[in-house]
């Protein structure tokens, strides 16, 4: 089975609309170059039981000039003290390339598959564990050998689907995996709450840049997460199930693990491609996203947003641009998910989006 090329659906949408998204294309090209460098530097640390997994913009194919490189050294095998040495080796190589992970400590370290698979909910499911798990499904990419990565993605999906009695027994309306969808919604709400937490604890430092990301890239990941769950939707509200539960589960894991290999922008573009009646709003959403990436790629704008304080935002030209871009992107999402009934999405949001 051949995997789709990164941003393939985005470029198809661009052609269909007669649009031009140079910043998305530049980010794609920068990401391809980064992946080549990472591959050459990090392949030596990967094995059948260990993968280097990148997250964030590097996984979304949205690398701009100041992007971090969020990564995990994912271990799915026998415990071995030498795994720590390998994680240190990965750190050194990524430092040499000049893209370090963000400061939160969620990434840039070693992670065990067992925590990701076993701790879903409950007190052991920390903020970091939740973030790693959801982003593993929605915006991740292995560098070097990928066997451990592929196993863990499927094992996590196994937990969500086999642990969802309503879904696996066919009682979920339209066949949406509610356990998974609830956890993706939890992640999005956590990101939104942490935005306020970081504003408070960092004395507003970096506030405007984080605001721009919350309105755009973080929201994109959530929207793609909804579409990820909606991918399993049945045409009818109470459609018949496959003949047995394990077959239902395997079909679901097969479909979702395939979707894990696609970028959030591709998942969103594919949704907009499903009806011509969505094209006007598709253009608004993707034009806005292109402008967002263009903004991030300009060092002067990025630095300005990094240092802007909330009390100065209302009169600030660049922040007004961020607001406008955010509103355009939101208009596209609102039309797709809530207004245009050419697709099933408004019915699914009604069934799952709030309660």
């Amino acid at each position: 089975m051949s995997q789709p090329q990164p941003l393939e659906a985005v470029f198809k949408l661009e052609r269909s609309l007669g649009a031009s998204w140079p910043s998305i294309r530049a980010a794609h090209d920068a990401t391809v170059m980064l992946h080549e460098r990472l591959g050459q530097a990090l392949d030596q640390f990967t094995s059948e039981d260990t993968s280097v997994v990148i997250f964030g913009s590097a996984a979304r194919f949205e690398v701009t000039s100041q992007s971090d490189t969020d990564w995990l050294y994912l271990v799915d095998g026998q415990a071995d003290p030498r795994h720590r040495d390998s994680a240190i080796g990965v750190t050194r190589e990524i430092e040499k390339i000049g893209n370090e992970p963000g400061p939160e400590g969620t990434f840039g370290t070693l992670a065990s598959s067992h925590d990701l698979v076993q701790f879903i909910g409950g007190r052991d499911d920390t903020n970091a564990n939740l973030t790693r798990r959801i982003l593993l499904l929605l915006e991740s990419r292995p560098i070097g050998r990928r066997e451990a990565y592929d196993r863990v993605v499927r094992a996590v999906l196994d937990r969500y689907l086999s642990g969802d009695h309503g879904w696996i027994s066919g009682h979920a309306p339209y066949g949406i995996p509610r356990f998974l969808q609830n956890d993706i919604a939890r992640y999005w709400r956590t990101v939104a709450v942490d935005f306020a937490y970081k504003q408070w604890t960092r004395n507003n430092e970096g506030w405007a840049l984080r605001s721009a990301k919350l309105r755009m890239s973080r929201k994109l990941t959530y929207a793609a997460g909804l579409l990820y769950c909606f991918h399993l939707a049945t045409a009818e509200r109470n459609a018949p199930l496959p003949s047995r539960e394990s077959l239902h589960k395997h079909q679901g894991i097969d479909a979702l693990s395939d979707l894990t290999h696609r970028t959030p922008l591709d998942i969103l573009a594919q949704a907009f491609l499903s009806s011509e009646s969505l094209h006007e709003y598709a253009k608004r959403a993707f034009d806005a996203y292109d402008r967002f990436l263009g903004l991030l790629n300009l060092e002067e704008d990025r630095t300005h947003l990094k240092t802007l304080r909330p009390e100065d935002a209302d009169g600030d030209r660049r922040y007004q641009l961020v607001r406008n871009i955010g509103e355009e992107f939101q208009a596209g999402l609102t039309h797709l998910f809530l207004e245009n009934t050419a697709t099933q999405y408004p019915a699914l949001i009604k069934a799952y989006g709030v309660f």
Binding site: M1, E48, D49, G77, Q78, E147, D150, R151, R154, A155, L157, D158, R244, S246, L247, K249, H250, Q251, I253, D254, S257
Partner: protein, 241 residues
């Protein structure tokens, strides 16, 4: 339920005739004659010409996995002679095939085994399809434990069975540890294997690769048989109104 037997290497490592004797004493109907090491091949050839194996309804041979490129033509030639003479499938690891030309004459008697996670070929559906592209008449030895080790959710097993179940001529069963050693079938393995049990062809013999003593062998067969047993009925308590 399919017939269940053993690989001789699981019953008696390095002692082919002892393995066959033990299988006959247990009245097993299916057996795999194992020569996993190149040095065992000559004695395998000698043994099958001398032994009476007519009590078995199904016999397969497991090719060596440690031969060199120079030894490969001789290995294939010896096994092809046996396959043509006895009409027994020959189980071959895809990563051991260096010179495809010497294996092509096997046709349907070539039985490709799906691999464990250590190998770089033959582990997934796509990797197996690539192998079968070179050997269109070959059949599949579906190692369910290897498939589980590659993907504990059993989704890869489901995918392989969905596309290739019509090629299966036998099933390898065991527990495979994280370090890729065969072990006895655990409860979690039974639960995992049951998830795809109804995709397994019932006429394909199951060959156990679990390292057991002859005293443990019948218990291990009973454990394997549980995979094919119908699900226990769910009893619902009826409370009078």
């Amino acid at each position: 339920m399919p017939p269940i037997g053993f690989s001789t290497g699981a019953l008696f490592k390095d002692a082919l005739s002892d393995g066959v004797t033990a299988a006959l004493q247990m009245h097993l109907e299916v057996i795999e004659l194992s020569a996993l090491r190149f040095r065992e091949l000559a004695s395998l050839v000698e043994f099958v010409h001398a032994a009476d194996l007519t009590a078995f309804h199904y016999v397969s041979l497991h090719a060596p996995t440690d031969y060199t490129a120079e030894q490969e033509p001789a290995v294939a030639s010896a096994l092809l002679t046996l396959a043509n003479q006895f009409h027994w499938p020959v189980v071959v690891h895809p990563d051991c095939i260096v010179n495809q030309e010497v294996w092509k004459p096997f046709g349907q008697w070539l039985c490709i085994e799906n691999m464990d996670k250590r190998k770089k070929a033959g582990r997934t559906l796509e990797e197996l399809q690539s192998v079968f592209g070179a050997f269109p008449d070959a059949r599949l030895c579906f190692d369910i434990a290897h498939a589980r080790q590659v993907d504990s959710s059993m989704t890869e097993a489901y995918r392989i069975l969905r596309e290739l179940s019509n090629r299966i001529c036998q099933i390898h069963m065991s527990e495979v540890t994280s370090s890729s050693k065969h072990d006895r079938i655990s409860e979690s393995a039974v639960a995992a294997f049951r998830e795809v049990a109804d995709q397994l062809p019932l006429n394909a013999p199951v060959i156990l690769e679990t390292p057991v003593t002859p005293e443990q062998a019948l218990g291990e067969i009973a454990q394997a048989a549980r995979i094919f047993a119908p699900a226990a009925p769910t009893f619902v308590a009826v409370v009078p109104a």
